[in-house]
């Protein structure tokens, strides 16, 4: 009895120490990545290559998803708005929901599962096959050579992908409302322009997507670097990247939206 009680307390202590250690490890890792970034910016080729793999390769899924989301918004929005005779507001509905919320959030979720998981798996496998150790032996810092370019590629790609997602979505909405439903295209764009403010809607959406980009890139590179160097460890790390990224994105979105809406009101 007494023994199991001590064991329970010990487990709580172990968990706590482990969590704090992990938080410290993440902070230390993030600090290292930032300080080692100067070198990877001097070798811009490395970043370009990584932008190709995480950004350009995500283009198709982002654009197609954006188009579909915009079209669904158009259909669903029309269904409800026509009850109030407000079909002309379709453009506003599609643009505001895409630019403010869906663009940054959905493209961040897609980016985390498409590119974040790939980054984690790549770095994790490099660790498992001792490539990172080999680099260290050759006096090449693996954080500067492997991690930092991937981190910055993610940070650069994310706002661009979110903007492309929103643009594709607005075109999807345009296809449904103007071409299928038959709302006048001048009314569609005119109402949209009257309602969407560049600073409070467009700029805030871009800020959101940039924050998500930093979060995803940091999580994906850390999980890969921290992965247990086994096949199982890499697979667990990849899963953790997607789950942690998704939760972080949604939590950050709530915080950012609360701050941004208070600024308006």
């Amino acid at each position: 009895m007494k023994h199991s009680l001590i064991e329970a307390v010990r487990r709580v202590g172990h968990r706590t120490i482990d969590t704090i250690w992990r938080a410290g490890a993440i902070a230390h890792f993030f600090f290292l990545v930032i300080t080692q970034s100067a070198m990877s910016f001097r070798r811009i080729r490395l970043i370009i290559r990584e932008i190709y793999f995480s950004g350009v390769m995500s283009l198709v899924i982002i654009m197609v998803s954006g188009l579909f989301v915009g079209m669904v918004l158009g259909l669903q929005g029309y269904e409800t708005l026509q009850k109030y005779g407000a079909e002309e507001q379709m453009g506003v509905l599609a643009a505001l929901s895409l630019v403010r919320e869906l663009g940054p959030v959905v493209s961040a979720l897609l980016f985390a599962s498409r590119a974040g998981s790939a980054i984690t798996a790549e770095i994790g496998l490099m660790k498992a096959t001792e490539q990172l150790k080999a680099m260290d032996m050759m006096a090449v810092d693996p954080i500067a050579r492997v991690v930092a370019p991937r981190f910055w590629a993610g940070v650069i790609s994310m706002p661009i992908l979110a903007a492309l997602f929103s643009t594709a979505g607005i075109f999807g909405g345009y296809i449904v409302t103007v071409m299928l439903v038959g709302i006048d295209s001048g009314v569609f764009w005119g109402n949209m322009q009257a309602a969407v403010d560049i600073r409070y809607d467009v700029l805030n959406g871009v800020i959101k997507s940039a924050v998500f980009g930093v979060a995803i890139a940091a999580i994906a590179t850390f999980e890969g670097y921290d992965a247990e160097p086994t096949a199982e460890g890499v697979s667990a790390a990849t899963t953790r990247t997607v789950v942690t990224s998704a939760l972080t994105i949604l939590a950050l979105d709530l915080v950012l939206t609360a701050i941004m809406l208070r600024q308006v009101a």
Partner: protein
């Protein structure tokens, strides 16, 4: 060879990104917030503001000339005190009239300013003396029904 392929696609990617941002700035949005422009505040007292909200437009002759900056309740006079942030490009005579209007039957509520004939202009901190409260639809319908009912009994 491989390097050229990366360069092309990354360049294409960045260009597409900038184009879509330009699209959002030029085609989707506009600077329709008056925060950037200079403004002066004037006050207006209303007996009833209906559904007026913060940041509601202030219009004169149908054109946006300012926004509602603040709404307070005066507990001494039991009136609503509305602060209007007027665009400093526009000046109005001192005896202008402010009324609370609705665009369409169910549209947004805004403050309409009808200019008076005074030579002096409204300056920052001034109060608009002539105001007209919001029309409350329920009261109007109630009055209409009441007068109809009264008519009916007269005829009998």
């Amino acid at each position: 060879m491989e390097r050229k392929v990366y360069d092309f696609w990354v360049g294409f990617f960045l260009l597409a990104g900038f184009l879509s941002m330009a699209f959002m700035v030029l085609q989707v949005g506009s600077f329709n917030d008056s925060r950037g422009t200079k403004s002066y505040t004037i006050l207006a007292r209303f007996d009833n503001i209906g559904g007026l909200k913060m940041k509601a437009p202030v219009k004169s002759a149908g054109v946006l000339v300012g926004r509602v900056a603040d709404i307070k309740f005066d507990n001494a006079k039991f009136q609503a005190v509305v602060t209007l942030a007027m665009d400093s490009h526009f000046e109005f005579p001192k005896d202008s009239n402010a009324s609370i209007l609705t665009s369409g039957l169910l549209g947004e509520v805004y403050v309409g300013v009808d200019p008076g004939g005074d030579d002096k202009k409204l300056a920052a901190g001034d109060t608009i003396k002539l105001t007209q409260s919001a029309v409350v639809l329920e009261k109007l319908i109630g009055q209409f029904l009441f007068s109809k009912a009264a008519e009916g009994t007269d005829k009998k």
